[in-house]
Point group: C2
DNA sequence: ATACTCATGTAAGCTGTTACATGATTCT
DNA sequence: AGAATCATGTAACAGCTTACATGAGTAT
């Protein structure tokens, strides 16, 4: 009965009006993927599991000859979703950052390689800002929560990019003073 | 032959002087776990795989009657590690943040519940700052890279906590103006 | 024609966690 | 005597990605 993390995202996406696996995946890729990803390999089987558990109800709604299965929340699904949103249990927070990992182990690396690493990290986050900006119009229409989280993402990745730039500057300064010319 | 992510961490930890699975796990838990975790269930089997692949060489070095298996890097292991640290391939970056996820879906939630969520998010990051501070002395001795990453972590989680505080203040302001008294 | 989008799904495999099992040594 | 630490490992399971398979409708 216990609702998986991905199951919760699916319930919430259905409440947001995404009624098919395809539509759910689309919105995930435009929004939550930055802090909670999900693949077709999770979504389709999970929808069936949620249906078995009675949290959603599915119905075939083909468009022309095109197959299509649409889901709505049952009353149990509604309360399971609300239960999760209101629960005060520990909030999962997991990060995997290969840039920080390399930086952590970068002591034996020459300064040029460390500088290069910081630049690549910075570019990664600048790229995130670009992606988030391209998604901004949709987020505005997606509700207050969606827009608040988008603004967080923009500010967050800008902050990281700035941090990288600072570290680059420090490294460049100490480097040129160590080997001037 | 391709070196797994956890395999790289293990090689790097061995170069840092952690020669046993137990010691590697200890240092992971004090340092990289904040951006790259690893469990015994990964570490011990991976050490054996690395040995089979010829990247590390293990030897039994019991302390008294206490079992102990110590590893060193082979030449192949050294170059595999250097190859990873210097490679310019895409840097993995993955985040799973249940706080942001709930915030994203928080539109139907009453203001009190949203405020509560922001507070819990803030406390989570304030707690991270406390944990990172407790680890600071060790990071200072762990080398420049370790200390740089620790300072990043401190600043990063402080920034997030500040963001949460700002959002709390905004919400409180709009709330009390909407329902004064 | 052909490429793209809509649409659903599965199978194999990889990664990772949790819980368990074992036993010696050291600290209180 | 009992708890904590040192030390190694496995088995079961949960979670997730990738690649594949299929096919209809739509735009160029």
């Amino acid at each position: 009965m216990d609702l998986s993390a991905t199951g919760r995202v699916i319930l919430a996406m259905i409440r947001k009006g995404r009624t098919t696996g395809y539509e759910i995946k689309q919105l995930v890729d435009l929004s939550t993927r930055f802090f909670w990803a999900a693949s077709y390999g999770q979504i389709y089987p999970e929808l069936r599991r949620l249906e078995e558990a009675g949290l959603v109800a599915g119905s075939e709604e083909p468009q022309g000859g095109r197959q299509r299965r649409s889901y709505r929340l049952t009353d149990d699904g509604e309360s399971a979703l609300d239960g999760w949103l209101r629960s005060t249990s520990e909030l999962t927070y997991e990060l995997r950052d290969e840039g920080l990992l390399k930086l952590f182990f970068s002591d034996e690396l020459p300064a040029a390689a460390r500088l290069n690493l910081l630049r690549r990290m910075r570019r990664r986050h600048e790229q995130m800002v670009v992606q988030l900006r391209s998604v901004e119009p949709g987020a505005r229409e997606g509700g207050a929560g969606a827009y608040q989280v988008l603004r967080y993402g923009l500010a967050h990745h800008r902050w990281i990019a700035d941090w990288c730039r600072e570290q680059e500057a420090e490294l460049e300064a100490s480097w040129s003073s160590a080997s001037p010319g």
